[in-house]
Symmetry: C2
Subunit: 356 residues, 2 copies
């Protein structure tokens, strides 16, 4: 028997953050033979044609976009637009558009460049950075995807000024999560800027998006394909996914589910892992100030989901979380600001108590 | 405006070649939490259950497998088999099964390990090494895929003993291509072993598969994502793809189309790039001895494709090759044994002459 070895290599890219960052799209794509645009139709309606003379596929953003059929549509669009391996697909929109555009770019001719232009706060601080792309399967959410790092990410904070309140709040859920993971300095900044963020203050948005991108970039660089340490970014997400699954996907915005997940993770960390009560209080206060629910009771009330979010339904959802083995959900918890532990199993009694 | 940088890394793997290599599958998958098998149903029929107790999805090999629907089927199979990111999908079959299994593994939970167990000569010497995976789109063949390097490749030359003549010959087309690219030593070895290869001599098969894998591994390691030098592996393929397109996909086996492509590339190299007549003669003689067509006339006759493979139809096919820009096909030609040039544009008169 004989054996032959094969070795491979890497990639680096930039995230531009600031008011007007999306204006760099022209320069960034100038060296490419062709450009095509995938865009949320609401973004086109608000901001007009996005890239001069580039063929544009407008889509209705949302989870229903993230199917094999939706993927096929974008792939055929790349082909009919005559894209080569030297071309670029620019994706303008929130997380679902970025996920779909990123995956299509990952696959078309085995990988072309994608320029991510996230237009929601949630996508700017979380979804667009780190190269995760995915579609949903019948068997579950985000089960098929790839790590396809973009050629560049343009976080244009001016695009956030037209966000509706619900989208802004949803994004603040991920902002608060990222700040807790980032540590004292990041969390203090977010706390100081929270009121101005809620008012869409451009300077505050630019400052906070940049801090969140820096926190995420540091974590992603250490573990680009989420084999271990990158999972700290799932703080609050085991609970959040169970909430989304139990409510029916699309009923509760992701960032809102994350907010409640953060409140539950804080209480769980306090009771299981010695986290101080002050961190729980700090987490809940930030969520309140951001206009986000900070308990399951708040969420059930705000979304009229008393039956759907029963403790039994949530326990079922937890047992089917895609991050953990079926039957033994794993949690990511913060013991202190910037000190996050992974792979935590919670006692049944504690869980039942938290979900009550 | 602020900018944040992100850096990434690599991967290495082994190709085991020899009689009985597939018996290592058990050891190689022992450390994984779960294993599932995607297999050509003919392989299961010939060799029985492939991996004890592993759930197995049997498929009918062929290009018709390589669709978004086929991909969805394998992805849902991974989910219902309970595969996690620590699991492995083992793909047993020829190039189409390896392509589909590799792509499903690339996408399932954003990438799980794939163990490639190629069961045809063509897949052992070419398709299974190098991480290329793909499905076809309505717009063209292999237009959606990824570079997903396997955890390991097991080239069990014993599996080749049950290959039918057509499959063996098709594989010999890629063997001869690889030998010309590899250089004098590889080509001489293939010439010396050709009669024994045609008789499925186990030692000759093991020796030649290993040489081909070494040639391919060297080229792939230098350019894993086919940005430049890896394209030398497309020797003869611009013509071959035009033949497959004009004939209707599936009518002419890939390796047979490559054989005729090699004969046309040899003649083109002689007339456009100063290749010696001796190399053309050597190429044609090897193809003849392998029982492969060494001219378009032979191919048209053998497959009754006079009309389909008219010069006009082939010219049209060349202008739509996915490797080059529409309207200006690019060729890979051998000037000498082991000296291959890329990006060659051929004069219209020469092309018309070659395709006559």
């Amino acid at each position: 028997m004989n054996s032959v070895s094969i070795s491979l290599e890497g990639h680096a890219y930039e995230v531009l953050v600031g008011a007007g960052a999306s204006a760099s799209a022209g320069d960034l794509t100038a060296g490419r033979d062709r450009v095509a645009v995938l865009a949320d139709q609401r973004v086109v309606a608000l901001h007009g044609p996005l890239l001069k003379a580039a063929p544009t596929l407008e889509v209705l953003a949302g989870e229903s976009l993230k199917t094999l059929e939706g993927l096929g549509r974008v792939l055929e669009f790349c082909a009919t637009s005559g894209l080569s391996r030297g071309s670029v697909l620019a994706a303008y929109g929130g997380g679902t558009v970025g996920d779909l555009g990123g995956l299509a770019a990952a696959l078309y001719k085995r990988g072309i460049a994608v320029l991510q232009v996230p237009t929601t706060l949630l996508a700017q601080v979380d979804a667009s950075v780190g190269g995760k792309t995915a579609i949903n399967l019948a068997s579950g959410k985000n089960l098929a995807g790839s790590f396809h790092h973009p050629a560049a990410v343009l976080c244009d904070t001016r695009l956030l000024e037209t966000l509706d309140d619900a989208e802004l709040r949803s994004g603040l859920g991920e902002v608060i999560k990222t700040a807790i993971i980032g540590g004292e300095e990041a969390l203090e900044l977010v706390e100081r800027r929270l009121d101005r963020l809620c008012q869409r203050d451009p300077a505050a948005l630019a400052e906070v998006v940049e801090v969140c991108v820096r926190v995420k970039a540091r974590i992603v660089a250490a573990d680009p394909e989420e084999r271990g340490s990158r999972r700290v970014l799932n703080l609050g997400h085991t609970f959040a996914h169970a909430i989304e699954l139990a409510a029916g996907f699309g009923r509760v915005p992701h960032g809102v589910a994350v907010a409640v997940g953060l409140s539950l993770a804080a209480r769980a960390a306090e009771r299981s892992s010695g986290a101080p009560a002050a961190l729980t209080a700090r987490t809940l206060r930030a969520l309140d100030r951001a206009g986000l629910p900070s308990s399951l009771a708040d969420l059930r009330e705000a979304y009229s989901l008393q039956g759907e979010l029963s403790p039994q339904a949530l326990l079922h959802g937890l047992r089917h979380d895609k991050k953990g083995v079926v039957g033994a959900p794993e949690f990511v918890l913060a013991r202190r600001e910037g000190d996050v532990i992974m792979g935590v199993h919670l006692d049944e009694n504690l869980l039942t108590d938290l979900l009550g």
